[in-house]
């Protein structure tokens, strides 16, 4: 009995520690893809397991961020290197599959082309000076895109190569985050049970959701709409919008979203949200569709969502212009 009493302080300390741990779970935050990315798994399958899984995911995200960089040289061969030469160069496996994904998505998404880099840079320069790109420059850039080609190949001994033919530059900004989330999803499904609880949030524009705590859904607020929420789990959520990155010139809103067919930087909507189920590939697909739909007529969006099997919300002037039937807003 006395021995039991002696153990009481120990039991008390253990209980309090357990209470504290039960309310703490690790969140890793890192800067990549030009945004803040948070990686969050709960300790449902063990705190240490979460910590290890998150570190691996962070490493993976940083590797993909490096190969997708179009603006500066990195330690590995990246888009910048491909844009610096027309030679065929050896690339990493990640970059190969990223470019492979781009080529696949070019066939599916109505307004996506990874060779938009040079046109995009011209628009960026013009908008920084509060001017609109002239029709002559747009025509010149579109000709470059139409006359350029991206060629990728792999050899039997697992070597990967890519070659940019022509003067257009590669820009994988619209797809890189989604592709990275796809790789995370593969990793999580390989190393964890199907009901694993996680959220990987790449700057709120590309989000991968597993289960929320105890298998529940995540409550997602739509910032353009007052007190409107989506309840989601096991999904990818891709958002494309101009509210925070627009330049208004003569009453027209221009943004970083460029139409590779017309060369225009004018979006038809304020925000497009694409919700896809958690299947592999839907991260990149959702991101590309969200951007592509910003420049698509509503009928084209409706047609695409049926064919591809995603759900869409289109918002303009703080009102919903269109939403898929299966999306429930609360």
């Amino acid at each position: 009995m006395r021995r039991t009493f002696k153990l009481l302080p120990l039991i008390l300390v253990a209980s309090l520690t357990a209470c504290d741990i039960a309310h703490r779970y690790p969140v890793d935050t890192l800067f990549c893809f030009d945004t803040a990315v948070t990686v969050e798994t709960t300790e449902y399958h063990g705190l240490m397991y979460s910590v290890v899984v998150q570190k691996d995911i962070c490493n993976m995200l940083q590797q993909i961020d490096a190969v997708a960089d179009a603006y500066k040289k990195r330690d590995v061969t990246c888009i910048y290197d491909l844009n610096s030469t027309n030679e065929k160069i050896e690339i990493s496996e990640y970059l190969y599959w990223l470019l492979h994904e781009c080529k696949e998505l070019e066939r599916i998404a109505p307004n996506f082309n990874p060779l938009i880099g040079s046109l995009s840079n011209e628009w960026k320069k013009a908008l920084e000076e509060n001017t609109v790109l002239s029709n002559d420059v747009i025509e010149e850039e579109l000709t470059k895109i139409n006359n350029s080609q991206l060629v990728i190949s792999m050899t039997g001994d697992n070597k990967y190569f890519a070659q940019r033919k022509g003067d257009a530059l590669i820009d994988v900004g619209a797809v890189a985050k989604g592709f990275a989330l796809d790789q995370c999803q593969v990793f999580l499904r390989k190393h964890a049970e199907p009901d694993y609880e996680y959220m990987i949030n790449a700057g709120n524009s590309s989000i991968l959701l597993g289960n929320n705590r105890n298998g529940s859904t995540f409550k997602v607020k739509l910032k353009d709409l007052k007190d409107t929420y989506l309840y989601l789990k096991d999904s990818y959520v891709s958002t494309s919008g101009i509210s925070e990155q627009k330049t208004t010139i003569d009453g027209v809103n221009y943004s970083h979203i460029i139409n590779p067919k017309t060369g225009s930087a004018v979006s038809l909507y304020d925000t497009v949200i694409v919700v896809a189920n958690g299947d592999y590939g839907n991260g990149a697909l959702g991101d590309v569709l969200a951007t592509s739909f910003m420049m698509s007529e509503l009928e084209e969006i409706k047609q695409s969502e049926k064919e591809i099997g995603v759900n869409v919300i289109v918002i303009k002037d703080d009102k919903i212009l269109y939403k898929s039937e299966s999306i429930e807003l609360h």
Binding site: I11, T35, G203, I207, K221
Partner: protein
Amino acid sequence: MDKKKLRNDIILIASLILVAVIALVCVLSSRQKNNKYAKVYFQNELIETIDLSKKEEKDYPVDAFIGDRHVEMMIHTKDGAIHVSKSNCPHQDCVNMGYVSVSNKPIICTYNQVYIIIEGKANYDLEI
């Protein structure tokens, strides 16, 4: 002997109940805490943690270097919200975001590689 045993049992049970009650109070109080912190990162390193629940009006300078390039920013807090009041970045997207007081909405300055994240309780998990 039996009386003594009974008394000891009662003390033991009472002690265990006390431990359980303390643990419950601990859990409930940690749930009710609504402290809101803004974490400021530069190149993935946490450089400042600001307690927004104090609702102080205060300036926090960011003075750093990326290679030879000088990073100069001023972060301002007011009424439990935070914003970038000055930045030497060309686009000024971080400044134009205005005040942010909710979690899950980071302020990001890509050019200066600075980002601010608010950690705290919101009635939703994320905002898009």
